[in-house]
């Protein structure tokens, strides 16, 4: 099993969708939310994801396809 700590940033049009529910149900990824701030026009969630590496990659690709930004909890680590 692989683990990943990520920050998901949701575009306004996805705020009302049960995105994390589908990540759990459709991909069989274990999620553990640590912090979040979701309002009407924006939202972010910091959570740990746990699954097989390949499953995690598929789940992340699906999130990106939905327009959800997936970053490490450290955000941008490539520094000029």
């Amino acid at each position: 099993m692989a683990r990943m700590r990520v920050r998901l940033t949701f575009p306004p049009e996805r705020i009302q969708e049960p995105v994390i529910y589908h990540l759990v149900k459709d991909f069989d990824i274990i999620t553990n939310i640590r912090r979040a701030d979701v309002k009407a026009d924006h939202g972010w969630v910091i959570l740990e994801l746990e699954a097989k590496e390949e499953t995690l990659e598929r789940g992340i690709a699906w999130l990106k396809g939905k327009g959800v930004k997936v970053d490490p909890v450290e955000r941008d680590v490539i520094v000029p």
Binding site: R34, D71, V73, D76, I78, V79
Partner: protein
């Protein structure tokens, strides 16, 4: 040594022993170094600092190291210059330039953070230093790792131009060029730092690394004659520097080294990558990540780690922020060079341009003390100016040709 109390989560306040940890295990918030300030009161004095070496290490009691200084003995203590010409052009009474474009050894303020990070990494027993960087940080990590005789790994996006790599490769690190999008490279670096027991300076060593930026603030205060200026304009990329200058001011004040400060902090960013300034202007604590599109590559961080905290410093200090367009950035670089003889990189151009705007719009008053932060050297990235600078006159090797050209130039100058 007792001065280090350990680490503390900036979100939930949970404490950790001093170790290579950068994320709170509970809330995944960033952790930062916590000091025993009560033990430092009276121990750190103006005299004790002034008796120290002319480098960042004169402030070592306020830095997160425990043993001897390992590398970077000559980093910092760069000039704080009282500007005459630029001050006159901007129409202000008291303008100072903190000039890290001449920071030893790799000409940017990154030497401050890396010297602290590598020293701490050696104390933790790491034998490998690493970072993911496209510019100044890579230069500095490779240089300090060489001095420390440690292995170093530098991760870069595979499409980075060769010209940007030479100033890192010369120190002979292992350079890993990663194919993929920015986000993919970014995530890989985070995963590598999680898996390998390396000192990734801006990831698992970040709490110690970022403390090095405080020295930029300490120096401003000391060099101003132990006082805080009215206004400080700071270029923002990841957002850490502005928070650490602010922390330096508060620490010096709480230790009784300066009088009550009333400094306002201003964030300077490029219009093509300015998420922190956008937060300030929109008065929101929500950072919206952006895709950088600016010539200010040294500030191009679209999803800054310390964006929220930088925003807080600006708000708490009563400051503001402003964007600079690419054209304004170049004008800022040229203005600083023309008036003060300082060739800064694009980040400095952003700072000068933003300072000019903030003065012209009345946000920064003309009769109070202002410090602008110049954090890197223009000689590293002269390419942004290639098409904007021109030789004034070309002549044949004849004195008569020069006479004619000179007359023409003088007549152009008059008209």
């Amino acid at each position: 040594m007792t001065k280090l109390k350990g680490l503390k989560c900036r979100e939930c306040g949970r404490r950790y022993p001093s170790s290579p940890v950068h994320i709170c295990e509970f809330c995944f918030g960033p952790v930062e170094v916590d000091y025993d300030y009560d033990a430092l009161k009276g121990v750190i004095t103006r005299q004790s600092i002034a008796a120290g070496p002319p480098s960042i290490w004169r402030y070592r009691e306020l830095l997160p190291i425990e043993g001897d200084v390992a590398v970077g003995h000559h980093v910092g203590f760069t000039p704080l210059i009282r500007s005459q010409n630029l001050a006159e052009e901007l129409g202000v009474r008291e303008l100072w330039i903190k000039n890290d474009s001449v920071c030893h050894p790799t000409w940017s303020f990154k030497d401050r953070v890396v010297a602290v990070a590598v020293t701490r990494a050696k104390e933790f027993g790491f034998d490998t230093i690493a970072c993911a960087s496209t510019g100044n940080l890579a230069n500095s990590v490779a240089a300090h790792a060489a001095e420390a005789r440690l292995k170093s790994y530098i991760f870069i996006p595979a499409d980075l131009e060769q010209g940007k790599i030479v100033a890192t490769l010369v120190y002979q690190p292992t350079l890993v060029a990663v194919e993929g999008t920015y986000d993919e490279v970014n995530r890989l670096c985070s995963e590598v730092s999680d898996k390998y027991r390396w000192a990734f300076v801006n990831i698992n060593i970040r709490p110690y690394y970022s403390e090095g930026s405080k020295t930029y603030g300490y120096e401003i205060l000391e060099q101003l004659g132990w006082r805080a200026p009215g206004h400080i304009v700071v270029p923002c990329a990841g957002g850490s520097l502005i928070t650490k200058i602010w922390k330096a001011i508060r620490e010096f004040a709480s230790l009784g080294l300066i009088e009550r400060p009333a400094t306002r902090m201003y964030a300077a960013q490029a219009a093509g990558c300015g998420p922190i300034v956008t937060m300030v202007k929109n008065d929101t604590d929500v950072l919206t990540p952006v895709r950088p599109n600016t010539i200010a590559k040294s500030l191009a961080i679209g999803n800054p780690a310390d964006g929220y905290y930088a925003y807080r410093v600006v708000k708490d200090s009563g400051g503001y922020g402003e964007h600079a367009t690419d054209e304004e950035i170049v004008e800022g670089m040229l203005l600083l060079a023309r008036t003060e003889g300082i060739f800064t990189e694009t980040a400095g151009g952003v700072t000068v341009a933003v300072t000019k705007k903030l003065i012209e719009t009345g946000v920064i008053p003309r009769d109070e003390s202002i410090v602008i932060c110049i954090t890197g050297n223009g000689l590293k990235t002269p390419d942004v100016l290639y098409e904007r600078l021109d030789t004034h006159v070309t002549i044949r090797p004849l004195l008569s040709a020069f006479d004619r050209a000179l007359a023409e130039l003088k007549s152009q100058a008059r008209s």
